[in-house]
């Protein structure tokens, strides 16, 4: 591990900062159990960063280094390193590789972020934009221009490398030369029971099959990641890029596209359907069933699973009592189905951490925040998306374990989701879900980070929800939070003032006298709470 340059840099900045926080971060990284060198909570060498969230915690952090030593042997999951605040750049900031859309607005947004005192911005980088026409040619100019803006403002940059585009981003979900293959072989895409295909969403089963112009998707992803790593080397070197988020599936989220093909995943809150009916998935299922000695189980997916919008109780599979999911077959199928998801994540993250090894970045990946139907015992929506563990155990556990193995931070994109009546009727339980995810990560030693599911336009309580999720949580506090994302609505008079207030309240706690007092109290209570935890 080529870590020494990073450490040197850190010390240099520590001199400039002279704060406990930075030293703390250095200590933390020395025995970080990660394969990718990472840095946290600090700024680029000479630039004094404005108060980040870390600053808010900075005061309370004094003297906690010692107590931290005690728990050092444990994984870094309860690290009280300050959370960093990022703001997502427009999803369509770059759509044709060479130009920045609404560049003036992006620049203004970045500058506003800096003035707000946030740590950085998040930039989605799409495969279909970077390599639009052929496997031989990349076009990075647009992304570079954005990265330059970020660097010029002295902000940190979190890049989300997305192999799959997002509807609404104004880019194809996959490069056209990849999609073209589907004409002859439509089974490279996820397929549901009735044969509906998710155009532009490559099946996990072909990860290592050379079906795309003689190459496997994994090889192409690697070329994409490596191309990025090489092209942006100097942004890694000067630590402009602090985080690389690896997109593990459609929308950059590790999940099956269990929503209806062509619909908007973000708006779908049904149970969904299993996506295991492309020929590659089916053949893997068959093989797996044969190996398990139940060849009959591998002929197809569950016959009694509900349709996309049906209630879990309408059919046999997910029925609360006596549903197929509890039977050996159900467990067999769900375990295999979830295992495929983890296997895919494992392959891509393993490749990514190899590509970015030695770069001073933190690796992260996003999981879905499927809080609907969470109240059902069978967790049908999550199971359809691929999150399942036998014997009603924590379905996020296998994923968290895999994340931890790669030193990958788990991004939970639902820090703003509040409980409300409407969701409750669909068995939603965001609180429980968050706790469950945190438990899984805590057990396996994966860090978590946060995002919001949507702009907090409708509920101002969303902001207080975010605040409490990222600030006052004691265990498994997110190591960074990214507010998603800049767009017209984000800057609209309906939203921006509220956002401004939010950031002020979390970032610049010491701006107001009142806050100053509050901070003191908060720091005190934090300390006490920590003592209590230790005693326990």
């Amino acid at each position: 591990m080529d870590a020494s340059p990073t450490v040197t840099l850190r010390h240099a900045s520590a001199a400039a900062w002279g704060t406990v926080r930075t030293r703390h971060a250095v200590d933390a990284r020395r025995d970080a159990p990660t394969r990718v060198a990472f840095r946290r909570g600090c700024s680029r060498g000479d630039l004094v960063r404005a108060a980040g969230l870390g600053r808010f915690f900075g005061a309370g952090d004094q003297g906690s280094s010692k107590s931290h030593e005690v728990t050092r042997s444990q994984p870094q999951v309860d690290d009280l390193a300050p959370a960093r605040l990022y703001v997502g750049l427009p999803i369509d900031a770059v759509t044709d590789g060479a130009t920045v859309n609404s560049a003036a607005a992006v620049a203004a947004g970045i500058r506003a972020v800096r003035l707000l005192g946030a740590d950085g911005v998040e930039l989605p980088v799409f495969w279909s934009v970077a390599q639009p026409e052929s496997p031989d040619r990349f076009s990075w100019a647009g992304y570079k221009a954005v990265a330059d803006m970020v660097r010029a403002e002295g902000l940190s940059l979190r890049v989300s490398l997305r192999a799959h585009g997002t509807p609404g981003a104004g880019v194809p979900t996959l490069p056209s030369w990849v999609t073209g293959v589907a004409v002859d072989d439509p089974d490279i895409f996820f397929t549901d029971r009735s044969g509906g295909r998710h155009d532009g969403c490559l099946s996990f089963a072909i990860d290592e099959l050379p079906v795309l112009h003689g190459k496997s998707p994994l090889q192409l992803y690697e070329a994409f990641f490596r191309g990025f790593a090489n092209e942006f080397e100097d942004f890694f070197d000067d630590s402009t890029i602090t985080d690389v988020t690896v997109g593990l599936g459609v929308h950059g989220v590790l999940r099956y596209p269990s929503y209806p093909p062509g619909s908007d995943a973000r708006k779908f809150t049904g149970v969904g359907e299993f996506q295991c009916y492309d020929k590659y998935m089916v053949s893997q299922l068959r093989r797996h069933a044969e190996e398990a000695g139940h060849a009959m189980w591998g002929l197809s997916g569950p016959h009694d699973a509900p349709r996309y919008h049906e209630s879990p109780d309408s059919c046999g599979f997910f029925r609360e009592r006596g549903g197929s999911w509890e039977t050996p077959y159900g467990d067999f199928f769900l375990s295999w189905y979830a295992g495929q998801l983890v296997g895919h994540g494992d392959r891509v993250l393993g490749m990514a951490s190899a590509v970015f090894a030695g770069k001073p970045v933190e690796l992260s990946a996003k999981i879905p925040f499927m809080h609907w139907w969470h109240g059902e015992l069978s967790r049908p929506a999550e199971a359809a998306a691929g999150f399942y563990k036998s014997n009603k155990k924590n379905g996020y556990s296998p994923v968290a374990k895999m994340f931890a193995r790669h030193g990958c931070t788990m991004i939970v994109p639902g820090m703003d989701v509040c409980m409300n009546k409407q969701l409750h009727s669909a068995g939603s339980s965001p609180d429980q879900l968050l706790a469950q995810i945190k438990n899984a990560c805590r057990r396996h030693g994966a860090r978590i980070a946060g995002e919001n599911a949507s702009l907090a336009m409708t509920h101002s309580s969303s902001f207080s929800r975010i605040r409490s999720n990222i600030l006052t949580t004691e265990l498994m506090r997110p190591c960074h939070f990214t507010y998603q994302r800049m767009c017209a609505d984000f800057f609209s008079p309906d939203h921006f003032p509220q956002f401004l207030e939010f950031v002020r309240s979390v970032v610049c706690g010491e701006w107001d006298e009142d806050d100053e007092e509050q901070r003191g109290m908060m720091a005190g209570s934090n300390g006490n709470a920590r003592e209590a935890t230790k005693a326990a």
């Binding site: 000479d46 607005a105 947004g109 506003a112 003035l115 002295g154 800049m486 017209a488 800057f491």
Partner: protein, 881 residues
Amino acid sequence: MSVGSGCIPAIPGVAPPARRGLLGGAFLQVSAARPRAGRCRATQHGRVRLGGRVVARAGAAETPVAGADEDAGAAFSEKFPLRRCQTVEGKAWVRVDAEPDGDGKCKVVVGCDVAGKWILHWGVSYDGEQGSEWDQPPSEMRPTGSVPIKDYAIETPLEILPNSEGRYEVQIKFDKDTPIAAINFVLKEEETGAWFQHKGRDFRIPLSGSFDGGVPLGANQDIGVWPGDLGHLKKNQGSNAQPQETIPGGTGLSGKHISGFYQEFQIIKSEYTQNFVTVTVKRDNETHKRLVEFDTDIPGEVVIHWGVCRDNSMTWEIPPEPHPPTTKVFRQKALQTLLQQKADGRGNSLSFLLDAEYSGLFFVLKLDEYTWLRNLDNGSDFFISLTRLEQRGTTQDLAKVEPQKVDKSSQAGGIISDIRNLVVGLSSRRGQRAKNKVLQEDILQEIERLAAEAYSIFRSPTIDSVEASVDLDDPTIAKPACSGTGSGFEILCQGFNWESHKSGKWYVELGKKAKELSSLGFTIVWSPPPTDSVSPEGYMPRDLYNLNSRYGTMDELKELVKIFHEAGIKVLGDAVLNHRCAQFQNNNGVWNIFGGRMNWDDRAVVADDPHFQGRGNKSSGDNFHAAPNIDHSQEFVRNDLKEWLCWMRKEVGYDGWRLDFVRGFWGGYVKDYLEASEPYFAVGEYWDSLSYTYGEMDYNQDAHRQRIVDWINATNGTAGAFDVTTKGILHAALERSEYWRLSDEKGKPPGVLGWWPSRAVTFIENHDTGSTQGHWRFPYGMELQGYAYILTHPGTPAVFYDHIFSHLQPEIAKFINIRRRQKIHCRSKIKILKAERSLYAAEIDEKLIMKIGSEHFEPSGPQNWVVAAEGQDYKIWELSS
């Protein structure tokens, strides 16, 4: 003779001592120019000042600093102007020679020995007059060279006495038995403009002094009274100072007795002298410390009172020892270091090393106990950001950094980083809450402004329909002439202004200009609204068929049209279709019954006009509130209007229309009217406000131009529209030097011009925006830049009458000439080459290049571009053939 003496402090030249801490210095005026609402938005140029940065850059830019070239990458230098108050001490004296000289005259002598251009500003008081009123002395008393000031004073220059080593004097002679009771004066030094008074009052020399024998009132003065050689006369300062008390005193004026006396006053003359202090910071390669060098041209002892801060915390602290030699610690709060005299004796300098951990350095110059020199720019402490070494880094060399012009745009980046640094710094300080609040506000404003900017760009409306129109505008496809475009090569002249109705003979007067307008290259003239009107300007029409107006009679109008036609110019009539004033009241006393040939009643008035009780349908557009809005949805109204327009075409000979206030009704009706009246050219006035968010004009005016384009679309392209968007953006771009506004996100012109050039009638001024109304006047003095833009660009340019017949005419004629020579037309292709802070450049049809803005620009490429026109901040090149 008694001799008095007093101290005259003339100008207090002492600044209050420097406070510790920078918060005073962190004074911050944040721009956030918030123009007022309304169309005419005065823009205040916001300027942010922080510490000495602004002035420093200016100063450094003017004067390259020696030493900076040694290691350009690792050093920077700031030069601050200083204003130092230099005092010269001397004396002034007043002498009264009571003994008559050879001519029988007594004399008063006023003199002083301080160099300067001294003026005696004086007057007299007569016997028996109370108070301090002055009168002018009789002419025989006035020395040569005297100048009367108003009717009560005289100014007489003091003249330097030969062989006197700089003594100035003036003599005033008077008769011994003069009725004048006293001479009053003050001394004035012309170069500094300083007045020297005596204890805040005029000097007063009593000529009718009291008899000797009184107790010298001067006894209680701090300065002694000296008996002179005319010992029998007594004079003292007190009686000088408060003559009103002494002269009419109890001793009485039993006889005229001139007292001779001599009195001296101390004079302190203060001068401001311009000095500089230059601070150079270099990186010391051996020690990795920073070498800070002070250099000033102030002679004498100069002490710097200084401190440092870390992390931009703006908290003064003292660096650890060793301190530079001759350093004292001042109350454990600051260091005071005596600068060393330079070898050539012209000033002082000193350099010392500072640890690299410090991010900033504060200082004040101290000359003596009472004289502190601070940052002139903001009156607070000087601040040098040491981190600039890193920020500017080794890659940029000084030459590139320094010549930045001091204007707000170039500072923006720096300012933000400064603000940012301050936030960090200040927020860590307690006890500065109030200041912080101000700062916060400023930062919040800046954030708001940025958000507004971003919002306006992101909130881009759909423009699909428009892009389709642009495609239709493809110049490669031959377009038949239509009333939306004319021939495509039209150049419009607005043939009147807001005052044109005053003569009553405008048609005749305008007719005389027809030849000239033709020779200038205009193809269309827009004549004023011709109908009978409630308002003299014609925009409140009443009887549409009565064409006798304040501009002239109908016959004169016909004659005018004929003259223009002979000159080869088409004539547009100004048709006001949106509203019409009624001739009669209805039963309720509301004016909504029309007369004349179009004798409509209240059914022709829109129902939603609150003032006129219309019985028609609801308005299809905005309401004009001063007159009944016509309901164009009624067929009889439309038929009548069509008939009227056709009548005007036939009877008057108009070639087309300028349509007033078309916001007021649906564009589809306009299409109807135009199809019926078949004009050669038509243009509508669709004027509404541009988009502003949080008080700033948005960069993205797509919504605004979309509304205009929508209207043109509704007319089916049968009419063009005035490109109000372009005018508005030109305002902002020119006024604030924000030329980047002149390119939209797609690299096209940001007005209607960019979307549908063939229907855009570009203009910079009209009778409403300019003239004597000035509702939205084009930035003063920048009209030629505006014309250089619209007359080289696609679209159909319109030139305002006031501009044609003004000093601008030669240049405008030149522009029109270029346009015609290069055959630029309304669909010409434009390629924007530059749209930056102070430069906009564009290439039109690959045969013409123009630039506006202060920045230098030269066309590049293999072609041979020759300058066709050039002036203040504009330049036009054409391809040499």
